[in-house]
């Protein structure tokens, strides 16, 4: 098991390796001779970007962590306009951020291949909503390729670049959590000479304002052209190597399985012991190639479409069948749930119902027994890490602002501040929305300082927004400008842990360095001052008292205050220390001093501290303590102290 970044660069065609879907896609991009890659991290897409960052220099690829998905999109798009092969990646909600450029530029097309990797998250393992990117594809008339396993994902990248170049059109490669974060056997292909020799590729932009300037006179031409292109692509996809018909040729029943659903359908059929069916495996859920569909439907008496989330394929198939006058039952979302992710169980249940047979095991019985179990299993939601600086920030904010304050927050690890005991997150909507929401709430409850009538001093509703460093640069900046410009009365605490922690410690403008070396660091406090914030301060949240006092002071100020709470991410720091073989202090409870007041548990909530119900005292799990010493500052009875022996 070599390092992933080594495997992705291996010049060993034919070698079989175990790769995560996202790693396989990175390899596919290299095999396709990619030149430019730009993205903003987002689970479940992040490992693709991290892998590209790790191999870029050795492969002659320009790679950047962009500040958000829209600028990443524009960076890659411009490279594709210049004749280079370019790629951007994002999670599903990231496409919403890039959507303005995406929808407007699609008609302009590209010169070099342009692939947009979008990772959906059905069941919302790490996301704020459950949207189906295939709908975006249909909306924008951009073809969507969807792999059923990691090896296919790698192969699809190459096909996607070819398809994009052939039609000078965008192509979406859509994954889901279960394809991006699934490992599978992947057979390595050939790497091009440019990649092997780390040859950086440069492009040429050919001016054409009638194409690249979207004034209405030009854009009016685009829409019919896009529609024409997508129908030509629909034709082309009849011969796409990722679409095929399998199973019994003269079967009377058929199942259509796009993307990853194909994997579940295969397992379900084997589990059910059913082989009297024909299967249409679809690697291109949009547009569905009608020629292949016609061949598949020939002789069938009924059809089931097993697809995850929205009925994207179902609607195309039904429309086609209606126009053809085909009068056979076509099932889909009546048997397959429209919410949450596809599973083998769901596929088995839908197919069994469709065929009028029983399931191989009694799922209802398992559910019934599990229902009983789930009542005695205590919940274990994710929590802020031990030594997480955000815990201290929230603790201090809550104490200083009081329980009546409103706490809009944002997207990042710190969203976990919503959970007890911290409960310092009242709203979270989308990247950067904390500041916009804080401003709106202030206008609604206090009025603007620019208005004749507004509430201030003791009358004002206290509003404290929290936002992470990467999120601040992502979409917090325009919202901050808006709040300062329109004179609201809010405190914004930027939880600056110097990395994009939630997605795996990627750098951002606050970190400064880029994968190529040192970029230029942009201190958040400088931005806030330059924008004209009424109060700006920087604190270290490991000093809880100082943080509390600064927040208290900031709350006295009328207008927009910005407090930067800066301390490096604990998970990142501990990882670095482990690698260097360094030790950190481990704290413990002096039993005689612990009164059992539970402040450390009920107000602070460090996961390393637990309650010993026998001794009625707090205890520290030494394997989980990361040595920040926050407990010492929180305990009113001085019951915590570092142990003699240190960790790791």
């Amino acid at each position: 098991m070599a390092k992933v970044t080594d495997i992705v660069l291996w010049d060993k065609p034919g070698e079989k390796v175990l790769l995560l879907g996202n790693h396989a896609i990175a390899r596919g991009a290299l095999e396709a001779n990619i030149a430019v890659y730009a993205a903003y991290p987002g689970t479940p897409s992040s490992e693709l970007t991290d892998t590209m960052a790790a191999v870029a220099e050795k492969a002659g690829v320009y790679m950047e962590y962009s500040t958000n998905e829209k600028v990443a999109f524009e960076t890659a798009l411009s490279a594709a306009w210049s004749g280079l092969r370019a790629m951007t990646a994002m999670k599903h909600v990231g496409l919403n951020v890039a959507a303005d450029t995406f929808m407007s530029a699609v008609g302009m097309g590209v010169e070099g291949g342009f692939v947009i990797m979008v990772a959906d998250d059905p069941s919302m393992w790490s996301s704020q909503n459950e949207q189906d990117t295939r709908v975006y594809g249909k909306f924008a008339n951009v073809p969507v390729l969807e792999p059923s396993d990691p090896h296919e994902a790698k192969e699809m990248v190459k096909y996607a670049f070819d398809l994009s170049e052939k039609f000078k059109h965008f192509v979406i490669l859509r994954t889901t959590t279960r394809s991006s974060h699934a490992r599978g056997d992947v057979v390595l292909g050939e790497l091009p000479e440019d990649i092997k020799q780390a040859r950086r590729k440069f492009g040429k932009f050919k001016k054409d304002p009638t194409r690249f300037v979207d004034i209405p006179a030009h854009s009016r031409r685009f829409h019919p052209q896009i529609l024409e292109k997508i129908e030509k692509i629909r034709e082309e996809l009849n011969n796409c190597p990722f679409n095929w018909i399998e199973g019994k040729e003269d079967a009377k029943v058929g199942i259509i399985a796009p993307g990853l659903s194909y994997a579940y359908v295969k397992e379900a059929l084997a589990w059910l012991g059913v082989d009297d069916v024909k299967v249409l495996k679809l690697g291109t859920p949009f547009p569905v190639p009608y020629g292949l569909l016609e061949k598949f439907m020939d002789g069938l008496e009924k059809v089931l479409i097993v697809e995850e989330l929205e009925p994207v394929v179902e609607e195309q198939v039904k429309t086609w069948a209606y126009d053809k006058g085909l009068r056979i039952p076509i099932h889909g979302k009546d048997l397959v749930p429209r919410v949450y992710e596809m599973t083998t169980r769901r596929a088995v249940t839908a197919i069994a119902k469709f065929l009028g047979i029983g399931t191989p095991i009694n799922f209802a019985e398992i559910d019934e027994k599990y229902e009983k179990v789930s009542r005695i299993v205590p919940p274990r939601p994710p929590s802020l890490c031990p030594a997480c600086p955000h815990r201290n920030s929230f603790f201090a904010i809550r104490k200083a602002a009081g329980p009546k304050a409103i706490f809009p927050s944002d997207i990042g690890c710190y969203t976990l501040g919503v959970l007890p005991p911290l409960k310092t997150v009242d709203t979270t909507v989308a990247m950067g929305a904390s500041i916009g929401v804080a401003h709106g709430l202030s206008i609604a409850t206090n009025g603007s300082l620019a208005e004749k009538e507004h509430k201030s001093g003791k009358e004002k509703q206290i509003i404290v927004a929290t936002i992470g460093d990467s999120t601040f640069y992502h979409t917090g900046l325009p919202a901050l400008a808006n709040a300062i410009y329109n004179r609201s009365n809010v405190l914004i605490v930027v939880l600056d842990n110097l990395v994009t922690a939630m997605t795996g410690d990627q750098p951002n403008p606050g970190t400064g360095q880029t994968p190529h070396g040192m970029g230029r660091r942009i201190p958040i406090e400088d931005v806030a001052k330059a924008m004209g914030a009424d109060f700006v301060a920087v604190v270290d949240p490991y000093d809880i008292k100082a943080t509390y006092e600064t927040v208290k002071k900031a709350l006295q100020v009328e207008g927009v205050s910005v407090v930067v709470s800066r301390q490096v991410c604990a998970l990142y720091k501990i990882g670095q220390m482990r690698r260097r073989g360094e030790k950190w202090p481990i704290y413990h409870v002096i039993e005689d001093k612990c009164t059992g007041c539970k402040i450390c548990i009920n107000a602070y909530g460090c996961p390393a501290i637990y309650w010993d119900s026998e001794t009625k005292k707090a205890k520290v799990d030494p394997s989980m303590c990361w040595g920040c010493g926050g407990c010492v500052q929180v305990c009113p009875f001085d019951a915590f102290e570092p142990m003699k022996e240190e960790g790791e």
Binding site: T43, R178, A182, G184, I366, V373, R380, P382, P386, K598
Partner: protein
């Protein structure tokens, strides 16, 4: 072989994804078609974690279907129970015995079931076998608590019908861990093997 399904559970940060990846590579080296399913991102932060390792001809998706796990390998006792619906009849639950009480339990909002209660549920309601042992203690004995996952993998290798050989797994561990830690990891593996042999004799 048609399919072999392992569910690995525990608390974020315990090395669950590393264990899943090691087993996946061992299965690949043994010539199987492999799928490993994971969840990344915020859901990992000290919350409940599940990973799937599957291999065999009939394996396509990355998730083990409910009622089909041959083994649940759990890094923390109650996490085995949380995913007990994956266990097949006659399947085995192999768990580290040392509990990590969730914050809700410490706050007095929930209670933590005993090992005996867990055993009863696994055996009587789900028709499986339940075995708990202190893998953390063995990891410390080997020289580093971080090797708890290797202790558990060593134990797993001894379960009846387990399709990968000890040597296949050890080889992957040898080439995966930092060279300085090979001995500690090998010792952890052996202690897991020994513990499982003793338990399975009972």
């Amino acid at each position: 072989m048609r399919e072999y399904n392992i569910v690995i559970t525990g608390v974020g940060g315990q090395g669950i994804l590393t264990a899943a990846n090691l087993l996946g590579w061992a299965a690949l080296h043994a010539g199987h078609k492999v799928r490993v399913g994971e969840v990344h991102g915020m859901s990992q932060r000290f919350g409940s974690v599940i990973a799937y390792v599957r291999f065999g001809e009939n394996v396509y998706g990355a998730m083990v279907p409910e009622g089909k796990a041959d083994v649940i390998l759990s890094f923390e006792p109650v996490e085995a129970l949380r995913y007990i619906n994956y266990l097949k009849k006659g399947g085995l639950v192999f768990t580290n015995a040392r509990p990590i009480p969730p914050v809700q339990v410490s706050m007095g909002l929930a209670t933590y079931p005993t090992l005996d209660e867990m055993k009863k549920i696994v055996e009587e309601d789900f028709g499986g076998k339940f075995m708990a042992f202190d893998a953390e203690k063995l990891a410390l004995e080997a020289g580093n608590i971080v090797t708890t996952n290797v202790v558990l993998i060593g134990a797993l290798s001894q379960t009846p019908g387990f399709p990968l050989s000890e040597e296949e797994i050890k080889e992957v561990i040898r080439i995966s861990v930092p060279p300085k830690t090979i001995d500690v990891n090998m010792k952890a593996f052996e202690l897991g093997v020994k513990a499982a042999k003793e338990m399975l004799r009972l």
